[in-house]
Assembly symmetry: C2
Homo-oligomer: 354 residues x 2
Amino acid sequence: VTASRPATATADLISRVVPVDEGARVAAAESVAALATPPGALGRLGDLTPVLAAICGRATPLPIVRPGLVVAAADHGVQLHGVSPYPQEVTALMVRTFCEGRGTANVLADTVGADVLVLDVGVAGDVAHHPALRSRRVRAGTRDLTVGPAMTHDECLEAIVAGAETAQELLDAGVDLLITGDMGIGNTTASAALVATFTGADPAAVTGRGAGADDVTFERKRAIVAAAVARHGGDDDPWRRLAGLGGLEHAALVGVLLAGAAARVPVLLDGVIADAAAVVAARLAPAVGGYLIAGHRSTEPGAAAALGHLGLEPLLDLDLRLGEGTGALLAVPIVRAASSLLTGVAQLDEVLGG
Amino acid sequence: VTASRPATATADLISRVVPVDEGARVAAAESVAALATPPGALGRLGDLTPVLAAICGRATPLPIVRPGLVVAAADHGVQLHGVSPYPQEVTALMVRTFCEGRGTANVLADTVGADVLVLDVGVAGDVAHHPALRSRRVRAGTRDLTVGPAMTHDECLEAIVAGAETAQELLDAGVDLLITGDMGIGNTTASAALVATFTGADPAAVTGRGAGADDVTFERKRAIVAAAVARHGGDDDPWRRLAGLGGLEHAALVGVLLAGAAARVPVLLDGVIADAAAVVAARLAPAVGGYLIAGHRSTEPGAAAALGHLGLEPLLDLDLRLGEGTGALLAVPIVRAASSLLTGVAQLDEVLGG
């Protein structure tokens, strides 16, 4: 049996994810404590500096100067059941909007100086060519997860590689902070199923209203998630669970996370789509968790469940549930500031000794 | 009787603070609802856009492109009682550190592209001249508030004018978002006294450990605050309460807030020092509250009490209690993003009609 190129590439990526550097973390924490600030006064900003040190393996973390966002877009077969109030066509229309720089994520990316690449990894509708678009469509949306696996294993691997290669393109251009973004009608249904099966949480508890499901739709969505999760109840194979329940953009984001971790670059997670991808990635490559920073807490209930499972405390809590990368983009300056504390701020003994 | 120049200037400033524009707020909220995002998905980011519209009086808010920070520094006579574990000399040393660009606030200001002016409105120790320093020392620290008023009425007015003129210098240079910063050993004691007397909160409940008071110091600090507040129990005159309990930097920040509001520019509040100044300013000029945005929730208990009194919900909650402007600086990109939504993001009918 010859492994496929995507299988080899994915295995290689996973093998390159090494644990973060605990020595650098400790050294950075000591340096933060020596800054010209009262003990603990920097709060979670001061806690983030050692995380960045551990990620890059240096006692003084590298400065974050060039953030880059991958907006992974795909459609979901489960939308046949009307789990979202928006028609599937909206996915392709929003992809065009992102390419034209007119999505909320674009405006926020401009605010923090982030590069943006839009990745079509499985959109159902037509998407015109655009310099900001990476056309890596694996198929025109996943299959309906209520009747069988959403993806084949090969499709899943192909999507992972598409995400990883898009992230690598940003890294090769000098991006030093990867940000996850997502677009796809129906994607909170697949996210809830992934979060439930990978964290053991109650499917009903981690299913939310997404873009605005009404009561009837919400009940149907919960039943769909519960049934899909139940089908994988005894399934120990994470690959089968990802392919069975996930979206192509979830797989692509797994690739983004793995590429960032393999390059020892921090990855800033947006909302529940990214959080779902993160619990999957952490199951495939446990060391990946050390490279992740939670940008914000989406109001989708699966987000808090996934972040709790990963042991991540989000930086922002602004009641956002838009996706696209928006919550993570708003958190970029906090990460950037944390990366600069040890090079920019005076130490207490310098101040007192002067 | 001839009013003093500071008295005239302050009265003029107060008279120029007009209520924010409710029509612009409603119009902006309608435009936010029409953006290409699900209803409510923008969370508090979407709520902030109408606030900015109301402040500048335009249905589409002006873009925030140039934030500017005033770090108001002063000493406190109450530090005679050792309310802070740091010696008073640290105030002057930190002022020098800010001038040299090596404070945490400087690093965070660089992250968001903010101008920084350091205002010595009442430091006790020597501070060398520096281009970033505005030397407007009213006196070398306040008097001990345990034995009498911390300031005279005239000193208080002079400090307000110093703050207002420093803010005006930034506004004249094109700054479109004012940010409050502060430095002063002993300032959380004065802040707690101001918050208690201006909000009616229990003095014990709004007194915190500041830069790190131990248990014995903390009890002493609480007793000092309670006694000082009790002295002003029946005092209806806000000027007497500000002069009696406040710091020169509190008065200066009142001036910053009034100057921002008079210019219809948003003012982003940092921690408990600014929050205390804000409850004072809102008592002197009730319309000022509409121009304020709470950057973060300091862990000092007076911060939450003051913000609650003002009806402000902080944007960030990162366990900071450093002051200097740090918490507010981290929130700048959120304000900037909110200012850009209506000009940058496509409307839903554009996306669907395309």
